[in-house]
């Protein structure tokens, strides 16, 4: 970041700090997401990943720091405003509109860009095809399996036609074959021109999908790089396995 020109990054998070009373959930986090990329955000439980997402998506106001999308300051803007300018998120704990059908659920997202019901419903069907929910359109959302609900989260967010999609652990709780099914869906979303920032614990998928990974631990970004770089970084190993773990592993490997 040099001079006064616009930040080159598509999404630029700069020095975000979020305190809840005495607890510092996110501490001076800075990261970039390149346009058209799939970028990962990983870290141990309680590292502050979801809080950082909430700040980016406007659900929490940061204590300090700024968020910029395409060079425009979006810090602290309300979630529905952000959805309008093209930032969509999913929830780690899925939040379906339980009383509605899958089609109606997705249509709520589609209504952001379509004023007419018929157009919104058509858009919803189209999105359902993209995420593999086409055969469940008329099911009540409450009747979906966990995997189905995760797909529904993605579908609704996609229906708002975002530029940037924040995925919060869409693979968590899925079995390996379900994960294998959904990985290409995420890749196809990116290939359609949507930039993806994903929180994920399933490393196999992170290694597979992400070009860049940021690691958050105890509220700080401790490492950024390609997936291969990140998983071998001592700081990252220690964040997951405890202080001194990197050295011990090194020692064990050399012995």
């Amino acid at each position: 970041m040099t001079g006064t020109g616009p930040d080159p990054a598509f999404l630029a998070v700069r020095g975000i700090t979020k305190r809840f009373g005495g607890l510092v959930a996110v501490n001076d986090a800075t990261l970039d997401v390149a346009e058209g990329s799939i970028t990962g955000l990983i870290g141990p439980n309680g590292a502050g990943k979801t809080t950082l997402f909430a700040v980016i998506a406007g659900f929490e106001k940061p204590t300090a720091g700024i968020v910029m999308l395409e060079g425009e300051q979006i810090t602290g803007r309300r979630p529905h405003d952000l959805a309008r300018i093209g930032l969509a998120r999913t929830f780690q704990i899925v939040q379906p509109f339980a009383g509605l059908t899958v089609r109606e659920n997705i249509a709520v997202g589609a209504f952001l860009r379509e004023a007419k019901r018929s157009a919104a419903m058509a858009a919803a069907e189209q999105v359902a095809h993209r995420v593999g929910l086409a055969d469940q359109l008329d099911k009540p959302a409450a009747a979906l399996t966990v995997a189905g609900r995760k797909r529904l989260e993605v579908a609704r967010a996609l229906a708002t036609r975002p530029k940037l999609l924040l995925l919060d652990e869409v693979l968590a709780g899925l079995n390996p074959s379900e994960i294998r099914d959904i990985v290409p869906v995420v890749r196809a979303i990116r290939d359609d021109g949507v930039t993806v920032l994903m929180i994920e614990h399933v490393m196999q998928a992170v290694m597979n999908l992400c070009e860049t990974v940021h690691v958050l631990a105890q509220g700080r970004i401790i490492c950024s790089g390609t997936p291969a770089e990140v998983v071998s970084a001592p700081a990252v190993v220690e964040a997951y396995l405890g202080q001194g773990a990197a050295k011990r592993l090194q020692g064990a490997a050399n012995a």
Binding site: R78, H80, A88, F91, P96, F97, G99, R117, A120, A157
Partner: protein, 314 residues
């Protein structure tokens, strides 16, 4: 909206008109007109409570405002009955917007919202009971001048036709809302506010629109009441009874459905009348029936009465 969706509503309109033409008993006509007024008030509640999930316990505030404005504008300001009725609807809608702005802006939900609306209705009741312009505790009489131009009719059948037409219009408006973007967003707010926000729904704006429409519709019921009975006092116009009626009917008949409020109003008042005729003059017996029905509905929530019927048929 396809023609097929309109069939039940048109059928309803035809039934009401037929009843208005065929029924001659004044008791029966009275019952039907009163049920229509309740159905209209309840449909208003349904827009906000049924579709939007914001349970108001104070729709009397809107009913009373519609009723008082209709009466006062004619009596004290010499306005025609129909303009006064329209102004009553607009005034009720404005009161709705104002209460909504205060309650929703401060993020009140659930029972807190219910309590605040109840408090507003009570404040209106106390004020109307004391103010001079409302006739105070003595109430207010609309001058009896039977003439269709004065929104007063020689026979109850004609009034039933007018009331039934207004309910039919309310049904059409509800169906249109259900099929609109606002309707979808309103239901999304009811089901999950955070998720709705994430999908670009401006939750505050949606709630404010809903409470404005809701209040206007319930205000129309108030104006209708004023024109039918030609008498109001604070306990009628702003009394808790109408807040309870307005929410009980949709809950019994199916909240968040087009026909729920009408169905609920017919069931509740049908039951109440039937009990009165069977049990004779035990005071308050109709309220006992309401209470029993409410307990049953809360204990065994049918998604709506059609849902219950389907369950029985199996």
């Amino acid at each position: 909206m396809t023609p097929r969706d309109l069939v039940p509503i048109i059928a309803f309109g035809v039934v009401v008109v037929a009843a208005a033409l065929l029924v001659t008993s004044n008791v029966a006509l009275n019952f039907l007109v009163f049920t229509m007024i309740i159905a209209l008030a309840a449909q208003g509640w349904n827009l906000l409570g049924g579709y939007g999930g914001q349970f108001s316990f104070g729709h009397a505030a809107f009913f009373g405002t519609g009723a008082y404005l209709t009466a006062i504008l004619q009596l004290r300001f010499g306005m025609g009955a129909y303009p006064a009725f329209a102004a009553g609807i607009a005034g009720a809608a404005l009161v709705g917007l104002a209460i909504g702005a205060l309650a929703f802006r401060s993020g009140l939900k659930g029972s807190y919202f219910a309590l605040v609306t109840l408090a507003f209705a009570e404040v209106f009741r106390v004020l109307a009971n004391a103010a001079e312009i409302t006739g105070g505790a003595a109430g207010i009489l609309i001058r009896l001048e039977v003439n269709p131009a004065n929104f007063q009719f020689a026979d109850r059948g004609t009034f039933l036709m007018v009331a039934g037409s207004l309910v039919t219009l309310a049904l059409l408006a509800t169906l249109a809302l259900e099929r609109s973007r606002l309707g979808a967003q309103l239901v999304a707010v009811r089901e999950n506010e955070a998720a709705a926000q994430a999908l670009g729904v401006d939750v505050l704006a949606v709630k404010l629109r809903a409470i404005t429409l809701s209040a206007g519709m319930t205000g129309a019921a108030g104006g209708l009441y004023a024109q039918y009975f030609l008498y109001l006092d604070a306990n009628i116009a702003y009394g808790t009874w109408i807040s309870v009626e307005a929410l009980l009917a949709p809950i019994v008949g199916g909240a968040g459905t087009v026909f729920g409020p009408v169905l609920g109003a017919v069931i509740l008042h049908g039951l109440a009348e039937a009990t009165k005729s069977v049990a004779g003059r035990i005071p308050g017996i109709d309220l006992v029936v309401f209470g029993i029905v409410l307990i049953l509905v809360v204990r065994f929530p049918p998604r709506d009465i059609p849902g219950l019927l389907r369950r029985w048929r199996r």
